[in-house]
Symmetry: C2
């Protein structure tokens, strides 16, 4: 039996992954960039107008000259003609300045007389309303650093500099095996002794919260050979999650079955509540989390252990962690770390009623897990506690 | 031209939706419950053991009697036989207690002699290690309230009480139209005057952040008839987003085209930077957001206006809002609300360099949008500012 701190360390120590994948920009939202992106172009790609107006040479205007309108350039078009002194072209936002022009005046600041314009803009300086070529990125220089979280604006930026694919840290391939002879699907007719299966729904939703879809969810009877077979079929995953059968009962086959499949046990049992019988093992690069069947323990272990393991793959921190003062006193037994279903208020955190691990009713309305230390027995209102936000 | 506060109010006032949909439990993660769920069963469904051990009648044991082991009950099985006084059955976690039993002793606290057991557990009381039928939910009573965010634990709870479908607030159907003759796809060969199209990537990623997939993304040239056609085809959406062509230039056809499609203009132009030419309209129940083509303005408007509109549909708050002190002084012009790309530090927020709206390089590495008030010109280090976290 290991303590929580040791269990967390052993998991992270066994996550020695560095898988990187090249994905199209449409598929990278929420990923972490695994390469430093170098700009392939100067962007803007050309000197471009920031306004609808007229482009001209500031020096030839000289603050007073009327300018002859020689044409117009719409965004998406291009003029190869050199603009002569005392000429202007009508120009639109995003359109390229013609050679010879260096300044744009807004159309609202101009008096048009047939084919000439008179500029009435006291604020205008050379280069006004022009986005210079290369003022965002310069070809060959760093555009975005490795390690950057790819938010919507980061993706928009990459697209705008012409990037359509980037290398990101790959999401782990996750498989789930649910064991338990007593389980029936929710919505089906109940028969004596059966219990509605909920762990597959809870785990798939929790993975979904981390933008991960498990590649398989398999349901297996409490029969050792069947469990061995299911594990054998699942060891191509990066992360294998089993629920049920990790206790010491006569029908708890998971730990034995994992041994038969050459999964190396890293630890079995953690000094915690819920989830004391939590098992963690490894088969080559596959991390194996075998959790008790109890739904409360399953999701507690997910948030406390599996989410950080997934972070090792994706390099992304998923769950917000902080410290808050307790809203009321709490008494626990020493010897186990407690993870309690909590509810954050504005500036303190409450322990919800009904903490027994089979009662999901409190977990259902909680927004955080509060960690109470193994050796400590008393917490007073106002004592600071660590918590993980789960919403 | 409206101010930011008025623009936000007009959008919310026009979001009078209450669409509810019945979804299977696999599809509701992150949704808000649109009904109060009533328990259809007592759960646990029966008195069940919380341990691997032996079930017996506490009174007949009397603290000293040896008990005859009459059989065993595995989880998922059931015994219809009445347990006699001075009898015990081997029982496993989650298995139903037989009639006549009221207490379970852990297997570790028992000495087994052939077919009898002697209990050695000073802590044992009547009802120990038993999860009573109905102790989680009682048939006909409220299991989960309308308005609950469906987290993984909430979904696990619902599955565990036998629910396989629930009514949730429906996500809006979103369509996107990108206009701009100058746009080419990132990754393609550049030609003179063209710009890499990035708004579709940014918007799809931003919607993805809110767990919404747009049903269509259409690219249209700056030709009024084509824009009219694209809008006409898109007015079945709950939310239609256009980018480009909302300014006052000769090729800015979006506002006109929307008028021709009988979209009612609610406002056009907001006293803000970026995104001053932002247009909001409505066609029956369809909300229409026509944004400038500028990628920085597009995503700023998304986070400030479209995300709150989506919240009206789903009833979920997406983006964390808070106040933090400024890390340095900042000077702005009065007359416009500024939305600045910011970076949160431990206890203060910095304004990133390169705030011009065409520069996405700063937006790409920002984690928040800082709101600076319309009329105010000076902010000092330490002044509190409102911000929206965008990561």
């Amino acid at each position: 039996m290991v303590d929580v701190k040791k269990a967390k360390k052993l998991i992270i120590d066994n996550c020695n992954t560095a898988k990187v994948t090249l994905l199209t920009l449409s598929d990278v939202h929420g990923c972490i960039l695994a390469e430093t992106v170098i700009a392939a172009f100067d962007t803007p790609l050309f000197h471009q107008s920031a306004m609808d107006g007229y482009a001209f040479s500031f020096d030839s205007w000289n603050g007073e000259n009327e300018l002859h309108v020689a044409g117009e350039i719409q965004a998406g078009t291009y003029s190869f003609d050199l603009l002569k002194p005392l000429e202007a072209v009508g120009i639109f936002t995003g359109a390229p300045l013609p050679a010879g022009a260096d300044t744009v005046v807004m159309k609202e600041k101009v008096i048009v007389n047939d084919n000439t314009i008179a500029i009435n803009d006291g604020q205008l300086t050379k280069g006004s309303n022009v986005r210079l070529k290369g003022s965002q990125t310069k070809k060959g220089e760093i555009a975005l650093n490795k390690g950057q979280l790819l938010t919507a604006p980061a993706i928009s930026f990459l697209a705008g500099i012409g990037i359509d694919k980037v290398r990101v840290f790959e999401k782990p391939l996750v498989r789930i095996i649910i064991t338990g002879k007593e389980l029936i699907k929710p919505g089906s007719t109940i028969t004596p002794g059966k219990t509605f299966e909920s762990n597959s729904f809870g785990l798939v939703a929790a993975l979904n919260q981390l933008s991960i879809s498990p590649v398989s969810v398999e349901f297996v009877d409490d029969v050792e050979e069947e469990i061995v077979q299911a594990i054998t079929n699942s060891l191509d995953a990066d992360i294998l999650i089993l629920t049920g059968g990790v206790s010491v009962g006569d029908y708890d086959f998971a730990a034995n079955a994992l041994g038969k499949c050459s999964v190396e046990k890293i630890f079995h049992k953690v000094k915690q509540k819920p989830g004391k019988t939590f098992y963690f093992g490894r088969y080559h690069q596959t991390l194996v989390f075998a959790l008790p069947g109890n739904p409360g323990a399953v999701l507690t272990c997910f948030y406390e252990y599996i989410a950080p393991a997934i972070s090792c793959f994706t390099r992304r921190e998923y769950l917000y962690k902080c410290k808050m003062p307790m809203a009321e006193d709490y008494k626990k037994k020493s010897g186990l770390t407690y993870f309690l279903k909590g509810k954050m208020n504005f500036d303190e955190v409450s322990v919800l009623p009904d903490q027994e691990s089979y009662l999901m009713s409190s977990f259902a309305i909680s927004d955080c897990l509060i960690k109470l230390d193994e050796e400590r027995e008393y917490y007073r209102k106002g004592d600071m506690v660590e918590l993980i936000k789960i919403t």
